[in-house]
C-alpha cells in the first residue's frame, strides 16, 4: 500500500519538486499551498507523514503544528519541518513542538529520501512492536473473539473466515457452542465500530451471549426467540454498554433431525444457496440491534436444509467495497459474486479466496460462516 505524504509549502516550484521526488519513489503525495488548504485535505484523509514549510504567509508552519497538536486525530501524525532557515533557535522551537526532525531545502534529494524512509520505517516498527505486544497479551489471556476451529458435526460442515481490517483486531466475533451431540449454536456478531474499541467490547457481548445460551439450555429452553429477548434485555440494562451496539445472527443446528433455526438482531440477511435456484435466497430476521430498546421483537425462522445446500452468515464488512476511490455498501453485488461461485461448484476455501480478494479494497473487518448440509 502506498504511503501518503502531505506536503505544505507556499512555493509551488518547491512543492512540485518534492512531489516528483517522492512519487517517483513510491509515495503518494497531497500538496497544499497554505495551512488552510492543508487543513481541508486533512478533513478528507489522514496522511502517514506531514512535511511543512515554516515560512508561509497568513499562518506559518509553527502555527500549523500548534493547531495539529490540539487535535486528537492529527497530533500523532509524524511531522517534519521543511525550511531554508537553519537557525538554531528555529530548530529548537520546531522540536519543542514535537516535530520529529527538520529538512533544510538544500538537502540533497537522496538524503531527503533516506530521512523519510527511515522515519516511516521507525514509525511502522514501533507500531508493529506495540501491536505485537498487545496481541501477545490477548493470546496469553486466551482473549479470542474468533475461535480456533469449528466443531465437527454429523450432518453439517462448518467453515468460517475472518479477515481483520488493517491487521488490527475488530468488532466481528464468531462463536460455536456445541451443547451436546444434538444441538450446536452458531454465533456471528459485529460490534458497531472498528479496530480496538470494537474488539474490546466484543468480549462483553460474547460473554453475555454464551451465558444467555447456557442458562436457557440448562432449563431445556432451545427457543432462539427467548434466548435473544433475554440477551437483549440484559445488554440493555448494562450501563457500560449504553452507547455500544452489536448486530447478532444465531443459528441453532439440530444435528439429529438435520434442521436449523435462525434469529437475528440488526444483522444482514442470512443467505441460502439452494440447488436449481436462480439466486441466493435471503432470510431476513425481525430483531433490532442488541441494546437499543428493552424489547427487541426477536423471532425465529425455521429453515429447511436439503443435501448440499448451504447457508451464509455475513458481517457488514463483506458487503463494503471501494471502487475507484468510492466506498459503498452493496449486498446485491456480494450475492451475485457468491452465487456465481456456487454455480461453478467451488469449495468453501475457494469462496474464501475469491471473496477476500486483495484486489477489492477492504474497508472494515469481514466475516463469513458457511454451514453446509452434507
Amino acid at each position: 500500500m502506498n504511503r501518503t505524504i502531505l506536503l505544505v509549502d507556499d512555493d509551488i516550484i518547491q512543492l512540485r519538486l518534492f512531489e516528483k521526488l517522492l512519487t517517483s519513489n513510491g509515495y503518494s503525495c497531497r500538496i497544499a499551498l497554505s495551512v488552510d488548504e492543508a487543513e481541508l485535505i486533512l478533513k478528507e484523509e489522514t496522511p502517514d507523514l506531514i512535511i511543512s514549510d515554516y515560512e508561509m504567509p497568513v499562518r506559518n508552519g509553527f502555527e500549523f503544528r500548534r493547531h495539529l497538536l490540539t487535535e486528537e486525530t492529527y497530533k500523532n501524525i509524524p511531522f517534519l519541518f521543511l525550511t531554508s532557515v537553519n537557525d538554531h533557535d528555529f530548530v529548537q522551537q520546531g522540536l519543542d513542538l514535537k516535530a520529529i526532525d527538520y529538512i533544510t531545502k538544500n538537502t540533497p534529494p537522496t538524503h531527503v529520501l533516506s530521512k523519510i524512509d527511515n522515519l516511516l520505517q521507525a514509525v511502522r516498527e514501533h507500531y508493529e512492536r506495540s501491536l505485537g505486544e498487545i496481541k501477545g497479551i490477548a493470546e496469553k489471556l486466551n482473549l479470542r473473539n474468533i475461535p480456533k476451529k469449528a466443531p465437527v458435526l454429523k450432518n453439517f460442515s462448518i467453515s468460517y473466515f475472518n479477515q481483520s481490517f488493517q491487521n488490527q483486531p475488530g468488532g466481528d466475533f464468531i462463536d460455536f457452542i456445541k451443547v451436546n451431540d444434538r444441538y450446536t449454536f452458531i454465533v456471528l456478531g459485529d460490534v458497531m465500530g472498528k479496530k480496538w474499541g470494537a474488539w474490546f467490547f466484543s468480549f462483553s457481548f460474547l460473554s453475555y451471549i454464551r451465558s444467555a445460551i447456557r442458562l436457557c439450555v440448562f432449563d431445556e429452553n432451545y427457543s432462539l426467540s427467548q434466548i435473544m429477548n433475554k440477551l437483549n434485555r440484559v445488554i440493555y440494562a448494562d450501563e457500560l454498554l449504553g452507547e455500544i451496539f452489536s448486530t447478532l445472527s444465531i443459528v441453532l443446528v439440530d444435528d439429529e433431525l438435520g434442521t436449523i433455526k435462525y434469529a437475528g438482531a440488526g444483522d444482514l440477511p442470512l443467505l441460502k444457496f439452494e440447488k436449481d435456484s436462480e439466486g441466493l435466497k435471503p432470510f431476513k430476521s425481525d430483531g433490532i440491534l442488541l441494546g437499543f430498546a428493552e424489547h427487541g421483537n426477536y423471532n425465529e425462522i425455521d429453515i429447511a436444509m436439503g443435501e448440499e445446500e448451504e447457508i451464509y452468515l455475513i458481517s457488514d464488512g463483506m458487503i463494503d467495497f471501494e471502487v475507484d476511490g468510492k466506498k459503498r455498501s452493496d449486498l446485491k453485488l456480494f450475492e451475485e459474486k457468491l452465487f456465481n461461485l456456487k454455480k461453478n461448484k467451488v469449495t468453501a476455501d475457494e469462496i474464501k479466496n475469491n471473496l477476500f480478494n486483495k484486489h477489492v479494497s477492504q474497508v472494515d473487518d469481514c466475516s463469513i460462516i458457511i454451514l453446509k448440509k452434507i
Binding site: 457488514d316 468510492k326 466506498k327 455498501s329
Partner: protein, 111 residues
C-alpha cells in the same frame, strides 16, 4: 467532522458536510449532536445530502444519539440518504427505529 447547523423555527437542521461518514469522525459527530441536546435541542433533522458512504461506527453513533434523545421526548428525522445508505438502514432494520424522509420539507411536517 464538518457539520452546518440551521434553526428552522424550533427544529435544528444538522447537515453533515463530509462525504465519508466513518470511524474517524463518528465520535466527534456524536459529541457535537449530544452537546446540542444538552443545550436543549429536542427536534432534530440530520441531512445526509452530501454523504456518500457511512460505516458501522457512524451508524453506531447515530443509534447512540437516538437512544439518548428518545427518553427526553425528543425526535430525530434523517433526510436525503442515498440509495446505498437507505438500503443499509432497511437491511439492518434501522429503518424501524429511525424516521427516514426524502426531503427537508416532508421532515418538517413530522414536528
Amino acid at each position: 467532522m464538518d457539520i452546518t447547523k440551521q434553526n428552522i423555527n424550533d427544529v435544528l437542521l444538522i447537515t453533515i458536510e463530509d462525504k465519508d461518514a466513518n470511524l474517524s469522525k463518528s465520535e466527534h459527530f456524536k459529541e457535537q449532536v449530544l452537546n446540542e441536546i444538552t443545550l436543549g435541542a429536542r427536534k432534530l433533522i440530520v441531512s445526509f445530502e452530501r454523504v456518500e458512504y457511512i460505516d458501522s461506527s457512524f451508524l453506531g453513533a447515530m443509534v447512540a444519539i437516538l437512544k439518548n434523545l428518545l427518553p427526553q421526548d425528543g425526535k430525530l428525522v434523517l433526510i436525503e440518504l442515498n440509495s446505498d445508505i437507505n438500503n443499509l438502514f432497511e437491511l439492518t432494520r434501522l429503518d424501524k427505529i429511525f424516521d427516514l424522509k426524502d426531503s427537508l420539507e416532508t421532515a418538517l411536517k413530522e414536528f
